[in-house]
């Protein structure tokens, strides 16, 4: 039996198709919820580091350390830290949120540093209070730098969720573990293909989102003086 026949047979089973859709949905949830939470966390931490420059060093060291912990180890350690069950998907969500945040803290800090001092000074002089100034002036201006980091984090999350299957949490990784156990290649191939497609689609959506959020960033170079200087 050729590989394609086998694949066709695998996909023709309604049970298998249901499993694929379920694991894909789970995979999206497990990868994207931490992405959103991680961005929020990174922005909060970045705001801290931006407001209290003395906290910066600590923040950067801690975020590097967090990112260095192997994912599998983190999945296993988290239940004992926050008291969840070993197989709870919360563990993966928490772990990936930490990874995302750790990855994004530096871009957030860099992006906030890059906001021109004259812009911040004029916002203050216009009568912005610090929180509103951060949310409506500094943060929007940080989006281009932040967006690059978010794209890396999204791909990283989508691939890391697969590891979760090793500790019995859902996601497309389940297709790998199943396939390996049964020496059945079709689910493995489907799992790999869907992981790639998911990563690509999410990346594309992020590129589009960035474009929508930063129309000003595409503004052309200064026009010549056709109107009074």
């Amino acid at each position: 039996m050729s590989f394609f026949d086998e694949l066709g047979q695998y996909l023709s089973s309604a049970n298998n198709r249901e499993q694929i859709v379920d694991t894909l949905a789970e995979h999206c949830y497990l990868a994207l919820l931490p992405l959103v939470l991680g961005i929020v966390l990174a922005i909060l931490v970045g705001w801290l580091g931006n407001t209290w420059p003395r906290a910066r060093g600590v923040i950067l060291v801690v975020s590097n350390l967090v990112y260095t912990v192997p994912s599998l180890a983190l999945f296993v350690v988290i239940p004992s830290l926050i008291g969840t069950k070993m197989l709870d998907s919360i563990n993966v969500v928490v772990a990936l949120t930490l990874y995302t945040a750790a990855l994004l803290v530096r871009p957030v800090l860099d992006a906030l540093d890059a906001v021109p001092p004259a812009v911040i000074a004029s916002a203050t002089a216009m009568g912005y209070r610090p929180a509103r100034r951060f949310l409506t002036v500094e943060l929007p201006l940080a989006v281009p730098v932040l967006a690059a980091g978010v794209r890396v984090a999204s791909v990283s999350n989508i691939s890391l969720v697969s590891v979760g299957a090793l500790i019995g949490v859902g996601g497309l990784g389940v297709l790998f573990t199943d396939g390996f156990q049964r020496e059945y290649f079709s689910p493995i191939v489907v799992g790999i293909a869907l992981t790639l497609v998911l990563a690509l689609v999410v990346d594309l959506l992020l590129v589009l989102l960035r474009r929508v959020l930063t129309p000003w960033d595409r503004a052309a170079a200064p026009v010549k003086e056709e109107v009074p200087a």
């Binding site: 000074a121 009568g127 200064p222």
Partner: protein, 363 residues
């Protein structure tokens, strides 16, 4: 009432004194320029007015009230502020930038946008600029938007921190003229910071010269500062050519305006052995026809020698001297308020008037 600095001192933790016991009263409806070399505390003093910098001691009264009695953010919404490099928000369109303070103060969105569009016109920018982002504007245009944004709150007080120093000299001069024009209509209380004494003299109703270490060296009208600098520091700061600059404050009423032969552009002039001023149909000077030049057929502008600067009757004598010195015919063209040529002056006559002037000039 205006703005009153009372014994203002700003000392930083490392011991540097930015402003040292500053006492200054800024009058309502005037342009007061704080001028001095870098490190004289002029920007620090300005930023204390809207509490972006808090003084170490002393107090500032705005319209008779201590500014520390009001909430800092609310105080700032009531004070226009223009910063060097404009400091526009790059992620907002020009209109949104201008509408910043009205929106912060809770105006209705449409009302704020309408106000912003009006202001765009006030600062001399066409309506289509409103939809652009700051990066799509030239430096001079950005500064205009910065001024419009500061005017949006309609506050009586405007703080300007070296607003024109980042644009080239030609554009800067245009922006200065524009500011004077706006001020003649709006009558704001403007505090203007610059390191450029020319700009200070040009714009200021009063000029405060500050020395390094944040001490007030002299406070007076531009003419006083140029004619009677209180000490060597001020004299050195206002520069060597302060005598010539002083002419900006001398009226030229006594200068004799002489008639000059004119030719009309488009006519067919005869030959002549004297200088002739070419004017257009409206009587505006277009250039000079040199002695002995022969015109073949109709006189066109391309054949003319470019004229010097024009002197508008009734303005200070400096312009008359400049017109005479810059003219190829050594004859300064005098125009009336409509730009029509009414005669010429020579440098000799202008100098006679200066020398015989009862007020004299700085020597």
């Amino acid at each position: 009432m205006g703005i009153e600095f009372r014994g203002i001192t700003k000392k930083y933790p490392d011991g540097t004194v930015a402003v040292d016991d500053l006492n200054l009263t800024i009058e309502d409806g005037t342009i007061t320029v704080l001028v001095g070399p870098s490190g004289c505390g002029k920007t620090t003093s300005l930023r204390m007015i809207n509490r972006m910098v808090e003084p170490t001691s002393g107090s500032i009264l705005l319209e008779g009230e201590d500014i520390r009695d009001s909430d800092a953010a609310l105080l700032r919404r009531g004070i226009g502020y223009v910063i060097q490099h404009a400091g526009l928000f790059p992620h907002r369109t020009v209109l949104s930038n201008i509408a910043t303070v009205p929106l912060l103060s809770g105006w209705d969105k449409n009302k704020a946008k309408k106000r912003a569009a009006e202001l765009l016109e006030v600062v001399g920018l066409p309506a289509e600029v409103g939809k652009r982002y700051p990066a799509q504007l030239s430096g001079g245009q950005q500064q205009r938007v910065g001024v419009a944004r500061a005017l949006a709150a309609d506050s009586p007080v405007l703080l300007m921190d070296e607003p024109f120093s980042a644009v080239d000299p030609v554009v800067r001069e245009g922006l200065q003229d524009e500011l004077l024009r706006l001020q003649s209509q709006l009558g704001k209380t403007i505090v203007f910071v610059t390191h450029d004494i020319d700009e200070a003299v040009r714009l200021g109703d009063r000029v405060a010269v500050l020395r390094v270490g944040g001490k007030l060296a002299q406070y007076g009208t531009p003419a006083e500062v140029l004619r009677q600098p209180v000490d060597d520091f001020v004299a050195g700061f206002v520069g060597k050519d302060r005598g010539y600059r002083g002419l900006s404050f001398l009226a030229a009423d006594d200068v004799l305006v002489e008639d000059v032969p004119t030719v009309r552009v488009g006519s067919k002039p005869e030959g002549s052995d004297g200088w002739r001023l070419a004017v257009n149909d409206a009587g505006e000077p277009r250039g000079w026809l040199a002695p002995g030049s022969v015109v073949d057929g109709e006189l066109v502008e391309g054949e003319l020698l470019a004229g010097g600067s024009l002197y508008q009757q009734g303005t200070p004598i400096r312009g008359a001297l400049d017109a005479a010195l810059s003219s190829p015919a050594s004859l300064g063209v005098v125009v009336d308020a409509d730009g029509k040529a009414i005669g010429v002056v020579t440098a000799r006559q202008v100098l006679d008037v200066i020398e015989n002037h009862p007020e004299g000039v700085a020597r």
